[in-house]
């Protein structure tokens, strides 16, 4: 019974923790501009993240080594360092976007300018990372993130023609008014948002934090294969709400306030309050994840002690790295650069960095000396190879598309 409960809790936190500022912005943006014609990209991305999160969780459970530990081992110190620098830059950019997102959520709840919240938010993020136990931190923000289910409620209340909705998802049509390059650019952004690399660093390092062993692999699979797709459905609901309420009005999403408007229209005040809570939890949780992931990656590359399962004193360099990343992110938000724009760039650069993370995981998951009987099966390898191809194409296309479309304008 207790075990069942913990599995259930794991699934819930996986759902609630799936969406972050990148998913919120990218899905709402794409929904308002392209209707449901890009939902297939989100679904594809969800399959990809399930595949690779399961692989990295399995690798971490069997070897007790985090992703970057293995990246350096397989790519060597040179290519590993290049990989580290690129991944850390993207993760810190995402960290900045998440902190901006928390502050924007607070602005919507209070009418007070978001910049005034930034120092407080930064301090709160640090305090939680410094003091709160890993399991507590993961569960609290994962469960609160479930508040975003209100987007699904809103969609249901909007009572769309479900058949047409499904048809638009299954048989996507690019709106005639949009260029193909713009359509593809937003596709890249959605893919990057769904498959953000930090999620894998966090997931695998989290497995080590929680001292998973090979016995925990089934639990991990349930979390991933049930939790992530349901979390992905929240992303789709956000896109569908924007498509139903904002698109007919010609509204293009550029603020977090616009993302929440469909909920107010469909559900009302209480629903909106829940949505704001969801924004807060999703971005705050993701801020913790990105902050920790920065520390995980750097510490794992250099072999330093990392993690929240030891006292901060015993992982001094790890905590200093997290603190420095936090300071950089706070400074980034305080430049008054629009957090929504920062988010858009962070997900496109995530798409560029995807192969750096996913390729080494695929290789290590195939190493029989490491993995023993838990080595990748044929299905994982066939899908993994297909996705590696997709990821490579997306990564190569991302920057040219960005330049060609002037970042989707």
């Amino acid at each position: 019974m207790k075990r069942l409960l913990s599995v259930f809790l794991g699934v819930l936190t996986a759902i609630g923790g799936f969406v972050d500022i990148g998913d919120l912005v990218a899905n709402s943006l794409a929904g308002a501009r392209f209707g449901l014609s890009l939902v297939w990209v989100t679904l594809l991305g969800v399959v990809g993240i399930c595949l690779f999160a399961e692989m990295s969780g399995r690798v971490a459970a069997v070897t007790h080594r985090g992703t970057f530990d293995l990246v350096r081992e397989r790519l060597g110190p040179r290519a590993g360092l290049l990989n580290l620098v690129a991944s850390v830059l993207v993760t810190v950019l995402t960290f900045t976007a998440e902190i901006g997102g928390v502050a924007l959520a607070l602005e919507l709840a209070t009418s007070v300018n978001y910049l005034l919240f930034v120092p407080v938010v930064g301090f709160a993020v640090w305090l939680v990372i410094w003091r709160m136990r890993f399991e507590v931190l993961e569960n609290v923000f994962g469960l609160l993130g479930l508040a975003l289910v209100v987007f699904a409620v809103a969609l249901w209340k909007l009572n769309p023609a479900w058949g047409d909705l499904l048809h638009a998802i299954v048989v996507p049509h690019k709106p005639a008014s949009e260029d193909l390059s713009t359509y593809l650019y937003y596709g890249v952004a959605l893919f990057g948002a769904a498959m953000t690399p930090y999620e894998v660093f966090f997931f695998s390092s989290g497995a080590v934090e929680e001292r998973w062993t090979a016995k925990d692999i089934p639990t991990s699979r349930i979390n991933v294969f049930i939790g992530f797709p349901l979390g992905g459905l929240l992303s789709v609901a956000i896109a569908a709400c924007a498509a139903l309420v904002l698109m007919p009005q010609g509204i293009e999403v550029g603020t977090l306030g616009q993302v929440g408007l469909p909920v107010a229209v469909a559900v009302g005040k209480l629903g909106l309050a829940v949505a704001i809570l969801g924004f807060f939890a999703a971005t705050f949780g993701a801020a913790l994840e990105t902050g920790l992931s920065t520390g995980y990656s750097i510490a794992q590359y250099f072999g330093w002690q990392w993690g929240k399962f030891v006292r901060p004193q015993q992982a001094a360099r790890f905590h200093v790295v997290v603190l420095l990343a936090l300071i950089a992110s706070i400074a980034g938000v305080l430049t008054t650069a629009d957090p929504i724009k920062v988010t858009e760039y962070s997900i496109v650069f995530s798409a560029v960095a995807l192969p750096l993370t996913y390729f080494p995981i695929l290789v290590v998951a195939n190493d029989p000396v490491y993995m023993g009987e838990h080595v990748n099966g044929r299905l994982s390898n066939v899908l993994g190879t297909v996705f590696l191809g997709v990821i490579l194409v997306v990564a190569v296309a991302a920057i040219p598309l960005m330049l060609l479309t002037a970042a989707g304008q």
Partner: protein, 129 residues
């Protein structure tokens, strides 16, 4: 490791080093090889730290890493931190030693950061709640 032979680069170099309790110490940044009396080259020590990693990094970055580590050190002729191979008790997904980090005295930067930054922040000595 049941293989009859294994690749040193694949199975030893760049691998995580941990103490008997699993606490992370450092990476195998390089490996010291010594010609053996009865032929071949034998691993006599694991090398760690910027003076071992630096030479493996490309061009200017590598040279800067080494130069910086030399400046940081009090020793007039600094060498990488050396862990004699006798300390190794297991070679698995990590290299396990029979001593803790403090007993080995191999983590200069960690100690410095701990004393000068982390210990000054309240709560650093307590586990998370």
């Amino acid at each position: 490791m049941t293989d009859e032979t294994f690749d040193l680069r694949l199975r030893l170099l760049d691998r995580q080093i941990v103490d008997p309790d699993g606490a992370m110490i450092c990476k195998v940044d390089d490996v010291e090889l010594t010609p053996a009396d009865d032929g071949g080259l034998v691993v006599t020590a694991l090398l760690a730290g910027p003076l071992a990693l630096g030479p493996r990094l490309p061009g200017r970055l590598g040279r800067w890493t080494v130069a910086l580590a030399r400046r940081w050190s009090d020793d007039p002729d600094p060498a990488p931190r050396r862990i004699p191979f006798e300390r190794v008790t297991d070679l698995g997904s990590a290299v396990v030693l029979d001593r803790s980090r403090d007993e080995l005295g191999v983590a200069g930067l960690e100690d410095w950061v701990r004393t000068h930054v982390i210990d000054r922040i309240p709560g650093s000595r307590h586990a998370s709640e």
